[in-house]
């Protein structure tokens, strides 16, 4: 998972469960900018229209039309077959796994799977496109007409879930290009063909979104779906998921405005920023009486702006042509497979449909209904790879209520993981260990603050159990009344000013809480909090000593 995306998800998490943290503030900022775009729509002025073209690298061991390995970060030109290098006389051979991935993705997005699809050549000259054309599916793609349902969190606390839909025009299979490295110092271009021919799914999302945040939420949901399916790893920073945004503004009821295409976006966060910048820019242009140019713009993440690219795209004629070396791609269902067909040569749509895993939306609903957790918490669980299983693992092994477990998992465990940039699978505290700790808490054997100390100890990975740590460090709950009374009196004696304030303002709550905090500190949080409160109230309500009041 990319760092940029996990920070995006932690933003929504922290906004919902840790209000007041800096990241929550930035989330509010985004929310407000998004709602300002929406407000303008209510006023009948300009609104944004956003469509997306998403290139998802298919998670497969070999390329779309050749048997070269697909491997990120292997040495340059180490994974290039004769076909990838476009040696004359070589022919494409379709990778079955890539077809299955596209079909599964199409099914998961509710697309109509075309039982017959075609391949085309798209011509342009570029050094990292060795054949001079890309094989794609222009005329008849493998899947059409789907829908991506996504949700995003709004409201001051970002705890309101808003459901949205974006139509999916089509999913097409195509080849990735190689990579060009321009060395301006030596004025040369270096070509790496490792990526050339890797299978891509191009997903075309209709312009049903209106702002950067919506687009980012849609991409995030798509990413989760692809990861759940295993059809794409979805890492944007490694280029496994690449998003171009088509952005325009118009007044509701009027035809769509001239669009620009924003490229060079390598994280969901930048996607939101790039789109919102571009929308504001176009609104300023239109409101200033100017016209938006149909152009390709690149997002510069340093300045947060979009800048025009040297635009050949608009003038380019791709001279599409049917790919003559690939017969039509025919998909079957069990019923329709012709007799005597080699099963290795056949992709069965109904079989893939049955094999589809649980999709993120269903997982979230299941978590909410089964465990009674808040919807926004289900988002955080699903967004983090492996966290759902972790949570369920803890719940199954502890007597503590799921509602209590979720706080420990999302606040404490996830907080520690994020702090140290670890994934859930790398957690030093197993679900088992956390469950044992929560059982101690549930049984009243330790206080909540003590439990947090125990978690810190568990995190160190010494291999000791929670119970062992409690015993060893004497963190068990302090229940002896006289012992607590002594501590309380010491605290009262050392805070005469506060005690005086309390007396003058007749039971000031702040003073009481402050003193409770002091007691907790001195007992390392071990004292039974109810007992502490009762004793302090009792002590403070006693008439003061004469000598001290004069």
């Amino acid at each position: 998972m990319s760092t940029s995306l996990s920070s995006c998800s932690s933003r929504s998490r922290s906004a919902s469960v840790q209000p007041g943290s800096p990241s929550a503030a930035s989330a509010r900022h985004w929310n407000s900018s998004a709602s300002s775009l929406r407000i303008s729509s209510i006023e009948g002025s300009l609104v944004g229209v956003v469509g997306l073209e998403i290139h998802a690298q298919i998670y497969a061991s070999t390329k779309l039309f050749s048997s070269s390995q697909v491997c990120f970060s292997s040495p340059p030109n180490s994974s290039v077959s004769f076909f990838d290098a476009a040696l004359p006389g070589t022919l494409p051979v379709l990778n079955r796994r890539c077809v299955e991935a596209a079909v599964m993705t199409g099914l998961a997005l509710g697309c109509t799977i075309n039982k017959r699809s075609l391949f085309d050549r798209k011509h342009y000259f570029y050094a990292d496109l060795p054949a001079g054309y890309q094989i794609t599916q222009q005329r008849l793609p493998i899947a059409v007409g789907g829908r991506l349902s996504y949700s995003h969190l709004v409201g001051r606390k970002r705890n309101q879930v808003v459901d949205k839909n974006v139509r999916i025009k089509q999913i097409q299979l195509e080849q990735d290009s190689g990579k060009s490295l321009h060395d301006s110092y030596r004025s040369q271009t270096l070509i790496d063909l490792n990526r050339a021919g890797v299978g891509l799914m191009e997903l075309v999302l209709e312009p049903d979104m209106s702002c950067g945040e919506e687009a980012a939420a849609a991409v995030r949901e798509l990413q989760l779906i692809l990861q759940a399916l295993g059809t794409c790893q979805g890492n944007m920073s490694e280029g496994q998921l690449r998003v171009d945004a088509n952005v325009s503004v118009h007044r509701p009821g009027e035809p769509l405005g001239v669009r620009t295409e924003v490229k060079n976006i390598n994280s969901a966060r930048f996607l939101a920023r790039a789109i919102d910048y571009e929308l504001q820019r176009q609104m300023a242009v239109v409101e200033g009486g100017g016209t938006v140019l149909n152009e390709t713009r690149a997002f510069d993440f340093k300045s947060g702006q979009t800048v025009p690219m040297r635009d050949k795209e608009g003038l380019q004629d791709y001279r599409f042509m049917p790919e003559p070396n690939l017969p039509p791609l025919i998909l079957y269902e069990r019923e329709t497979v012709p007799a005597h067909t080699d099963p290795r040569q056949v992709v069965l749509v109904d079989q893939l449909q049955e094999q589809l895993p649980e999709l993120p939306r269903v997982t979230r609903d299941r978590l909410v209904t089964t465990y009674g957790i808040l919807p926004e918490h289900s988002f955080t669980l699903v967004n983090e790879d492996g966290l759902v299983d972790y949570f369920v693992g803890v719940v199954q092994q502890t007597r503590a209520e799921p509602k209590k477990v979720i706080g420990w998992v999302l606040n404490d465990l996830l907080g520690l993981l994020k702090q140290q940039c670890l994934t859930v699978s790398q957690s030093p505290v197993s679900p088992n260990a956390l469950a044992e700790l929560l059982d101690l808490l549930e049984a009243g054997s330790i206080s909540s603050p003590a439990a947090k100390l125990v978690l810190q100890e568990l995190w160190k990975g010494s291999g000791k159990s929670a119970k062992h740590i409690v015993e060893e460090q004497g963190l068990g709950l302090m229940r002896d009344r006289s012992e607590i009374q002594q501590v309380c009196r010491r605290v009262i004696d050392s805070h005469p000013d506060e005690v005086r304030t309390h007396a003058l303002r007749a039971g000031n709550k702040n003073v009481l809480n402050k003193l409770i905090g002091q007691v907790r500190k001195q007992t390392k949080g071990r004292a039974d909090p109810q007992l502490v409160r009762a004793i302090l109230e009792e002590e403070l309500s006693r008439p003061p000593f004469h000598g001290e009041t004069t």
Binding site: F82, L87, P88, G89, P92, A127, G132, N325, L326
Partner: protein
């Protein structure tokens, strides 16, 4: 049934002379591969001797310019390996090696092609052997892999003699437009042609036709028993016809195109050039089959291991498409067409006129589709990874432009430009789409005729016999391609099998051939009819003088000159 006289064309090597080989030098190889080499069959040549004789013949006929590369060293090595297999096989078995249909045990001859010298058109990739497409663009290009069909022959023990000359990237119908210069038709030097009054041996040599002219010349001049060509619009059948060979364009997809440097992917097929229908069937049996590297290959139909000698054509229905009475058809070819139709009818076949109404549009259509695919296929020759790279490197675009300008001849460049024009968004519908629609109509024409019960179509292969080079070059490549491919390219549009069979010599002493077109995947039926005709037509063997090279020196014709047409 075959009479002994007709059989004599298939001579055992070394018995010398024979009716079919009259005038041929005793050293020349004149036989069909189904009769050779059977080293244990008593006094017949060994693979090494066969290879040596072919190589000698190739050298003697070097002035034909049939070869771009002669792989002498490798050929001799392969031949000695084949010889070892024959010797080991003889010690293992007492019976003569007649079991073509059985797979040989290890250490035994691998099959009917073991030890047989063959040649390959220089647009098939051969590992570590230069593959030029007769283009400056690919001079010095040594592919790292071998085309499937070539590999299949090598796996059978066949001996690769060399790579043959062609029109640049197979674009042409004369084998005159390659960077290595034109190929000369061996019949130009035959007794049959030269001994006629008024023929000037210096200037009156005739073209082979093309674009697989080098392959045709190699087989016709007895330098190989078998040659691979490619056929996109007639490129195998056209030179086969003009050089008096049996040339088969198999059903599209029956033979793998992997490793064939493409001209028109949707029409290209590897072609087979041989001296008899039997040889064509033998080669086809070896070469056919699904190839995982070519997704357009089809499962091969069940086929006999070899053609029967006793062929019954009584139930065969032969169609004579009336649209093939094209303008420019020579009287002699027309006459042969009638003669063969009568022959078939007398043999018991029913002969009827049929109509293929869309044929007239085929050549225009072919031109659009061909150039479009050419434009696409040639895009990879950018000089970056292989092939020619220009010195001009002001920018990547300038490098591309200069590389293409320097690397391709004007025929190739014109087709690229035309093709890109047809593929432009604004033209696509008007040209490419329309051509595809017409292509479908042409295919439907054939389908309808075959559905109505016709088994084979009989047509001319070319308008007439071979043209003198000096006459041929009076017209440009485009005009010539349109003329020469008129009878051959509709078959490619429909993906059907077709074979050309020589029927007689013209009044000029040059071969006239006719074409048989069959149903898809009915290649063997087609070859059966071809064989039946062959048994009755008594087409004469080429009579090459004892020492052709000596004759040529006297005539003042230089040997092969590698001259660029640029």
């Amino acid at each position: 049934m075959v009479s002994p006289g007709q059989r004599q064309r298939h001579l055992d090597l070394g018995t010398g002379g024979g009716r079919g080989c009259e005038g041929a030098s005793s050293g020349a190889v004149c036989l069909c591969l189904c009769r050779c080499p059977r080293p244990c069959g008593g006094g017949r040549v060994s693979p090494t001797e066969l290879c040596t004789r072919c190589l000698e013949q190739v050298k003697r006929t070097g002035f034909l310019n049939a070869f771009v590369t002669v792989t002498e060293e490798q050929a001799l090595r392969q031949a000695s390996e084949a010889e070892r297999r024959f010797l080991e096989g003889r010690s293992l078995t007492a019976s003569p090696l007649t079991h073509r249909d059985r797979s040989p045990p290890p250490g035994k001859p691998r099959g009917p092609l073991d030890g047989i010298p063959f040649s390959v058109k220089d647009n098939f990739c051969t590992e570590n052997i230069e593959t030029t497409c007769a283009s400056h663009m690919l001079k010095g290009y040594f592919p790292p892999y071998t085309a499937t069909v070539v590999q299949k022959l090598l796996d059978q023990g066949a001996v690769l003699i060399g790579k043959t000359n062609l029109d640049e990237f197979a674009m042409g119908a004369g084998s005159t437009d390659g960077v290595f210069g034109p190929v000369r038709n061996p019949w130009s030097y035959s007794a049959q042609y030269r001994e006629r009054p008024g023929v000037d041996p210096r200037s009156d040599w005739v073209i082979t036709g093309g674009s697989s002219g080098g392959s045709a010349a190699a087989v016709a001049s007895l330098g190989s028993f078998l040659a691979l060509g490619s056929d996109s619009g007639g490129s195998t059948r056209n030179p086969g016809a003009l050089c008096g060979l049996v040339a088969l364009k198999p059903t599209y997809g029956l033979l793998s195109r992997h490793g064939l440097i493409p001209l028109v992917n949707s029409m290209d097929v590897p072609g087979i050039l041989v001296r008899s229908a039997d040889d064509a069937a033998t080669a086809l049996g070896v070469l056919r089959g699904l190839d995982v590297r070519d997704s357009t290959t089809i499962p091969p139909p069940a086929a006999p291991p070899h053609l029967p000698d006793d062929i019954d054509i009584a139930r065969i229905r032969v169609g004579i498409p009336k649209e093939y009475h094209a303008p420019g058809l020579s009287a002699e070819t027309l006459c042969q067409w009638g003669r063969v139709a009568d022959l078939l009818e007398r043999g018991g076949a029913s002969v009827e006129q049929v109509s293929l109404p869309h044929t007239q549009h085929s050549i225009v259509c072919y031109h659009v589709l061909c150039t479009a695919e050419v434009a696409s296929n040639m895009a990879r020759f950018d000089g970056l990874q292989y092939g020619h790279r220009s010195e001009v490197n002001d920018s990547t675009e300038a490098l591309y432009a200069a590389t293409c300008h320097e690397g391709f001849n004007d025929v190739v460049r014109r087709r690229i430009l035309a093709g890109n024009y047809f593929l432009l968004k604004r033209n696509y519908e008007r040209y490419f789409m329309k051509a595809q629609k017409v292509r479908r109509l042409i295919a439907q024409d054939f389908a309808r005729v075959f559905r109505d019960g016709v088994d084979v179509l009989l047509t001319p292969t070319t308008l007439g016999d071979a043209v003198r080079y000096c006459d041929f070059i009076q017209e440009d490549n485009r005009t010539r391609s349109a003329q020469e491919d008129v009878f051959t390219q509709p078959v490619n549009m429909a993906g059907l099998p077709a074979v050309t069979v020589p029927t007689a010599l013209s009044s000029r002493g040059l071969p006239i051939s006719l074409q048989l077109i069959g149903r898809a995947s009915h290649d063997w039926q087609l070859l059966g009819v071809a064989k039946w005709l062959e048994q009755r037509l008594e087409f004469p063997a080429i009579q090459l003088p004892q020492d052709v090279s000596q004759a040529e020196r006297e005539a003042g014709v230089p040997g092969r000159v590698r001259t660029s047409v640029l």
